[in-house]
């Protein structure tokens, strides 16, 4: 693009962002230590690092959410000290947070303009103008979200798009994106990439955090790698490779997953016949229509589809967490079931990791141990009372198995990095030793190394006779893990592939078709 321009101006123009010796401590952890970072104006600067490396902390300091314990920050050559996010917005920094921060009760448009509401000549809130501009912003992201729907009714992927629209509405000169695509599927990410290209063409500087190496290498001009709160190095994208980056991230080479022997299919665990889920208030009339599938022990069934295709609805229906007005048959080991409450599904040894960890997974007031053990507390009972040591033993095992990085089992869960919170929730459900595990985008926000470990773990559990239904926003993940893949489009099942037949192109065609 206008790359050459920058090369010329590089020395003359001040850095868009210049951080020197930034340090940030939290109780029990040093999140950032002596961190320095230069971002050139107009470039897309990617930041990579493991879960808990300090990426989010870094950009939160840049956007005024946290105040650093030491070090200096310059924006456009001027020394700044942000006390709050408003300050950062005034200095031209907008951020898309990793953890979504929208007011659920408000409409999409109201969220986008929260705190900067448009006024009419009389000084009243001008809903119409806001809705119109919001529609335009969403249009530019090529998504179909009505500006007047209640934000809480949107799925997490759509909420992420609203967050992006909100940041864009600021017309900031520096846009920080903290894992903006973690809940988006390929085609929504592609739209975001087109928007990013437009922003860059306008001269906007972008800081981009992602665990998806493909994206990073498509988009970035330069890449900075963090490890354990320290700067490892900054390189030009052209001079490096994904393997090298992940190597720096973890400080060692990640072993390739050994090409494992195929898993052996066991008896049939679950069968779904002609499942329909009505949706009266929508012109389509249904969320799911005529879905049939089956799952055997020792098998991973992948569910592909775009956002809004009904992947989450399917899993929620199987788990008894959604509406119960579905028709059709769900057979568990040959017997018909209709779960009215998740408890009933748990009692039949089904577990589900939901897609939206903050809203549907985490208990913010319980510590790490409390969050992990909440579904298997009965195993820590001695004489009817909870035993602390029993619980700790239970949790310690799980934390080790899933590789959670936490200063203590009793640290507050909200202090963990996003990826580590996700691992806690997966650990919570693995502790229940389920027969059927429903995973709704389980690796959302998990780093490359941990993903590989998690895949191995899931594979291992499958070999021991568990059946897994997996959805993912990343097709490569489905392709490498699943034995069979079904594709949903607009609530209908449009294709089923075995592992050998499936390719990204075929799946995309079925998902949009």
């Amino acid at each position: 693009m206008n790359h050459d321009n920058h090369e010329v101006k590089k020395d003359a123009a001040p850095h868009a962002v210049c951080m020197r010796g930034i340090t940030k401590r939290f109780p029990g952890v040093v999140a950032l230590e002596d961190m320095s970072l230069d971002v050139r104006p107009g470039e897309l600067h990617a930041i990579c690092g493991e879960n808990g490396a300090g990426k989010s902390t870094l950009v939160k300091i840049l956007s005024g959410v946290y105040q650093p314990d030491g070090g200096t920050l310059e924006i456009g050559g001027e020394m700044v000290r942000f006390v709050c996010t408003r300050d950062a917005e005034h200095a031209g920094v907008a951020i898309i947070h990793q953890e979504l921060a929208l007011v659920e009760e408000l409409s999409v448009a109201a969220n986008v303009f929260l705190g900067r509401e448009k006024r009419t000549a009389l000084g009243l809130v001008d809903d119409r103008a806001m809705a119109a501009e919001c529609a335009q912003l969403l249009e530019s992201l090529e998504c179909r979200i009505a500006p007047d729907v209640r934000t809480g009714n949107l799925r997490v992927g759509d909420q992420q798009l609203v967050e992006i629209a909100k940041a864009l509405s600021l017309h900031a000169s520096i846009v920080v994106m903290d894992e903006p695509t973690s809940a988006l599927t390929e085609s929504e990410s592609a739209r975001l990439e087109r928007t990013i290209a437009k922003l860059l063409a306008r001269g906007t500087t972008i800081l981009y955090i992602s665990h998806k190496m493909g994206e990073v290498f498509r988009l970035a001009d330069r890449i900075t790698v963090l490890r354990d709160g320290r700067h490892v190095r900054t390189v030009n994208r052209a001079d490096t490779s994904p393997e090298e980056i992940t190597g720096w991230m973890v400080g060692r080479k990640i072993a390739d997953r050994p090409a494992s022997a195929p898993r052996v299919r066991g008896k049939q665990l679950l069968e779904v016949r002609n499942l329909c889920l009505p949706w009266p208030e929508h012109p389509r009339g249904y969320r799911l229509s005529d879905i049939s599938l089956s799952l055997c022990a020792g098998e991973i069934l992948g569910v592909a589809g775009l956002m809004g295709a009904g992947r989450t609805e399917l899993l929620e229906t199987l788990f008894g967490a959604g509406q119960s007005n579905w028709t059709g048959d769900i057979l568990l080991e040959g017997r018909r079931v209709r779960f009215l409450h998740p408890r009933e599904a748990c009692d039949r040894r089904i577990a589900m990791v939901s897609e939206d960890r903050k809203r549907l997974g985490l208990f913010p007031d319980l510590d790490v141990a409390g969050n992990v053990s909440v579904c298997s507390l009965h195993e820590a009972l001695y004489g009817g009372l909870l035993s602390r040591s029993g619980e700790d033993a239970l949790v310690a095992g799980s934390v080790r198995e899933t590789g959670v990085k936490t200063p203590s089992l009793h640290a507050p869960i909200m202090g963990l990095s996003g990826g580590n919170q996700q691992k806690c929730i997966i650990g919570r459900w693995l502790l229940t030793r389920p027969d059927i595990l429903l995973l709704d985008d389980p690796t959302r926000g998990i780093d490359v190394g941990a993903k590989a470990e998690l895949y191995t773990l899931i594979d291992q559990l499958c070999r021991n006779g568990m059946g897994v239904i997996l959805t993912s926003s990343e097709l490569p993940e489905l392709l490498s893990l699943a034995d069979r893949i079904i594709v949903l489009a607009e609530g209908r099942l449009t294709a089923e592939f075995s592992r050998s037949e499936a390719t990204e192109a075929k799946i995309m065609a079925a998902a949009t078709g």
Binding site: D87, L362, L377, S408, L409
Partner: protein, 407 residues
């Protein structure tokens, strides 16, 4: 990182904020002992202790119920009316079973008393069930459901009292005297309500910290949707919480009847629900749910009663006039002090912008008026003046520390 392991563990016995409450209680008692012109803490220590203990126990019993409801993410505004209803149910049951003895102020016998008390607790269970039904099945917000029963139950109790007295006695009446010696014994032996409070506190503590149900209560209060998806029967947990809240209020109602030897649905327990919520909040409960401890609430109740007692000892006349004011100030102070550390670190201001400017005279007028009413107009005026100066200095200091944020 094992070295940090312990810093996150629950500290020994009490949390930091709870130790602070202990300290505050000691300070309040010490100040009263010094400032009270009659030196009643020194001259009649037992009597003073008995007074505070009784009041604390009565408040604490249903504050424990409020704590459980609040941790579960709800709120129960109806405790005061439940106290009135419980007393009325108890008294009218005795009236129905032993009308002659009741009217002649004679003993009705332990069996009748036991039945009457059981009836009151049953009434508590039913009210709790009604609450959770309104909240889970009709989907009313807890605030609205219990606001309805706050006004409804008191009126219901009064109607019950009047219809029962008109049916069973010669005259219709809005109160029933209770003269059974068992109730007198409870009134004259302070240790009975105190022991009841202690036992109930232990049970509540055990439930909240050491049972699966308690963990589920905290989880429900923290994130209801996540709790449901984790397989927790949230409706049942709420049912327990609201029944616990209403039944502790019913129990407190029995002690109120014993204490006052009368069941008077019009006024008994009026406004007490707010004291219970205040005790829980002073003890560290968050009204957003999920946060709170039993030791905190116990200390909160003690602190509240000690301060009320201190003011009544120091001011002498019309202490009950100031009770509401004291509770209000204590709640604000306790929650503010809980955040002081955070404020200093986050650079947050107590008196920001034009709001802070207007808050200065507001606070000065308030403090001046209170002092003027208790200690005369001269003192009031000087306190008001001093407040303005002090707050102004505080504001100036805050502004100098963090220059108006960079624009």
């Amino acid at each position: 990182m094992p070295p940090h392991q312990d810093s996150f563990r629950q500290p020994f016995l009490l949390r930091r904020s709870e130790w602070a409450l202990v300290l505050a209680i000691v300070v309040a008692v010490g100040l009263t002992a010094l400032l009270d012109a009659n030196h009643s803490y020194a001259t009649r220590p037992l009597e003073s202790l008995r007074d505070i203990a009784r009041n604390t126990a009565l408040l604490g019993i249903f504050a424990l119920g409020a704590t459980v409801v609040i941790i579960a993410g709800g709120i129960d505004l109806s405790a005061g009316s439940m106290i009135a209803l419980s007393g009325t149910v108890c008294a009218t049951t005795m009236l129905a079973l032993a009308p002659v003895e009741m009217m002649g102020f004679k003993p009705v016998g332990p069996a009748v008393v036991a039945v009457a008390c059981a009836a009151s607790l049953l009434a508590g269970f039913l009210v709790g069930t009604l609450h959770s039904w309104l909240i889970t099945a009709i989907r009313l917000p807890p605030f609205i459901a219990t606001l309805a029963t706050l006004v409804g139950l008191r009126s219901f109790a009064r109607a019950l009292c009047e219809s029962a007295t008109s049916a069973l006695t010669p005259t219709k009446s809005a109160l029933v005297n209770v003269a059974d010696p068992l109730f007198k014994t409870v009134r004259d032996n302070v240790w009975i309500p105190v022991a009841m409070f202690g036992v109930l506190a232990c049970i509540t503590w055990l439930i909240l910290t050491r049972t699966v149900l308690g963990r589920h209560i905290g989880a429900l209060g923290g994130n209801e949707q996540a709790a449901r998806l984790a397989g927790i029967r949230t409706d049942n947990v709420k049912w327990f919480a609201y029944c616990f809240g209403a039944m502790t209020a019913a129990l407190a109602g029995l002690f109120y009847v014993a204490n006052e030897s009368v069941s008077a649905p019009v006024n008994q327990g009026r406004g007490h629900e707010l004291n219970a919520i205040a005790a829980a909040v002073v003890g560290g409960c968050s009204l957003a749910g999920g946060v709170g401890t039993v030791p905190g609430t116990v200390l909160g109740a003690i602190f509240l009663r000690v301060v009320i007692d201190a003011v009544s000892k120091i001011i002498k006349t019309g202490a009950d006039v100031y009770e509401g004011l004291i509770v209000g100030i204590v709640v604000v102070m306790a929650v503010t002090l809980g955040q002081v550390g955070q404020m200093a670190k986050g650079g947050r201001k107590l008196l920001p912008g034009s709001l802070g400017l207007c808050a200065i005279p507001t606070l000065a007028i308030l403090s001046g008026a209170i002092v003027a009413m208790t200690a005369g107009p001269r003192a009031g005026a000087s306190v008001a003046g001093a407040s303005v100066v002090l707050l102004w200095l505080l504001r100036a200091w805050e502004n100098s520390r963090t220059p108006a944020s960079s624009m």
